[in-house]
Point group: C2
Chain length 340, copies 2
């Protein structure tokens, strides 16, 4: 795998013709006779020559490649979103390259910038932290870009976006608990996904208000943003006990991984789910169906989110007018919730 790249010069030397002749022959230029063209192409094949994709794309200005920035490939949520992106991209003959941001705005901007400099045709960014303060850093990105479930309220207006209705999802989750007779309902959130956490917390609080249920400060536990990259499972494990102590009979968790952590904590504390405590997650990742009890959750249509975002990008590439989209999540009732 370490042999030197064959250049046009190498072929020219071997063929005893000029660099220009080889270059023209390989590009099927009519300036070169068909016979010589064939001979040179044959020689190039024998020598193992591969055209330089970068030089080619400089000429055509098209790379037929889409860049996707995700937080991490360890997140099963984005795995399914990317599957949806790939389905649409494949059917349009586009390659997909992925890069990770690890929920860090500097890494995110570096990833976008790297894609831009490699001249991808379009960029998709999941869970973005970019806000109007970063306009200068990314203002020059002239590549069509669509944001998926962005985490900033003050996103630059020029951005296109697809997002899930976090507020609606939270309402569905908490209304489900209310309908089961729960009156002491907690919320276990994460501070490092500021916008979606805020919207889910608002949805939670609105339903409690509408149902005239008590709202107690100690029934809300938010893992504050820090630099330790605490996993969501650990967040759920560490923070569930304080909600139980505060007297809740049910908890709406920010997402399924947090709920998995909460469930592990319950097992350790000898708390039966759903008999002693009901748990609701958010996302609808496959894992939620494998655990015991299987998790009641608010399902985001992950494949659909990826497909819609990719289609929006294709429309932008064809200079069509696009409108930002908000998709609706829905409740999946399983074994982790029960009547109070």
């Amino acid at each position: 795998m370490s042999k030197r790249k064959i250049s046009i010069e190498d072929i020219a030397r071997k063929a005893g013709v000029s660099h220009t002749t080889v270059s023209r022959a390989l590009r099927d230029s009519p300036l070169i006779s068909p016979k010589v063209r064939e001979e040179i192409k044959q020689l190039a094949r024998e020598m193992g020559y591969v055209p330089n994709g970068i030089a080619q794309s400089l000429q055509t200005q098209k790379t037929n490649t889409i860049g996707v920035v995700v937080t991490s490939i360890a997140d099963p949520f984005f795995a399914e979103v990317v599957e949806g992106i790939e389905q649409i991209a494949r059917s349009s003959g586009l390659s997909v390259l992925l890069s990770t941001s690890h929920r860090n705005v500097e890494q995110e901007i570096a990833a976008i910038d790297n894609f831009y400099r490699r001249r991808v045709d379009g960029i998709l960014v999941a869970d973005s932290r970019i806000n109007t303060n970063h306009t200068q850093q990314i203002g020059q990105i002239a590549t069509p870009t669509v944001f998926i479930n962005s985490q900033t309220a003050n996103q630059p207006e020029s951005f296109h976006s697809v997002r899930i209705d976090d507020y609606l999802g939270a309402r569905l989750a908490v209304q489900h608990l209310v309908s089961l007779g729960h009156t002491s309902i907690g919320y276990l959130g994460v501070g490092d996904r500021s916008l979606s956490n805020q919207l889910r917390q608002e949805g939670y609080q609105t339903v409690l208000s509408e149902a005239n249920l008590p709202q107690i400060d100690d029934w809300i536990a938010i893992r504050e943003e820090d630099n330790t990259r605490t996993s969501d499972v650990v967040t759920g494990q560490q923070m569930l006990p304080q909600l139980v102590k505060a007297g809740v009979t049910s908890v709406f968790c920010y997402n399924d991984m947090v709920a998995v952590g909460a469930l592990l904590a319950c097992k350790k504390l000898g708390i039966s789910v759903p008999q002693d405590l009901s748990l609701v997650g958010f996302d609808g990742i496959a894992l939620g169906g494998y655990i015991t009890p299987p998790l009641t959750t608010i399902r985001q249509p992950m494949l659909e989110i990826g497909r819609v975002a990719m289609q929006m990008l294709l429309d932008l590439l064809q200079d069509k007018t696009v409108e930002n989209r908000v998709l609706s999540p829905y409740l999946i009732e399983r074994g982790s919730t029960a009547r109070k």
Copy 2:
């Protein structure tokens, strides 16, 4: 996000100087006076000019980017391997781009070729299907490449590789079951990962031979390769019943996801794990610790695999001599196995 890219020509026109002068000024060429250089760079900044990464990399022949081909980002196994790759890449100032093969050799070759044409500095390929039959298609790839857990026995000799010792891992799994007193031990495998499945099956059979235990054809169930992309969980769910019917008291599963499926099948059939049936997985993904009972498994050092492969690639890039590496997995005893 749709404004036109600013070119060197645009800057030259505005500045009233030649294209060459702008180009030289932006590259800090000493042929241009420091004052003019500064003026042109200032103008370029004001106009929102971004240097073309592709054109730059044509000059330097370096992109400071590594391409990684994985089967799918939905696989938690590769998520952790990629985390290891990124740790080492980041500390060396390299960007990582990912692409997916979906266990299809044509998609794999297309992904490698795409990386090669974009002039990445090095390539890592996980779960490769490439064998000596593909030498012509990828023979021209002159970019240093390292394969991780390749699935072909007749890999081209020029390839560098890091792999887990599948045979040893299988032996550890089955020896664990033998040590618990099991004498009817089944194997639940997958046909689409030919090499590692074969090595794990061999390890299984060798231990049974050594322990003078019965080897029954019906105690081995292999999901044959097909084009339906059946998930490993579904494979475990569908194939566990036939092993139970054949009378096994324990099953060594190809990997953790297959074991999760087997566990779901047991719940449906009213079979208690580990009281009625012991299950062992392979990989050591986080999920295995979240299910009930938590899964006994053979842990692959996933982070380490990624780190070693990336370090090998860095060594290749520095023209150091490298040797292929085989890493050892180890047993993690948890709740899914018990004394017969």
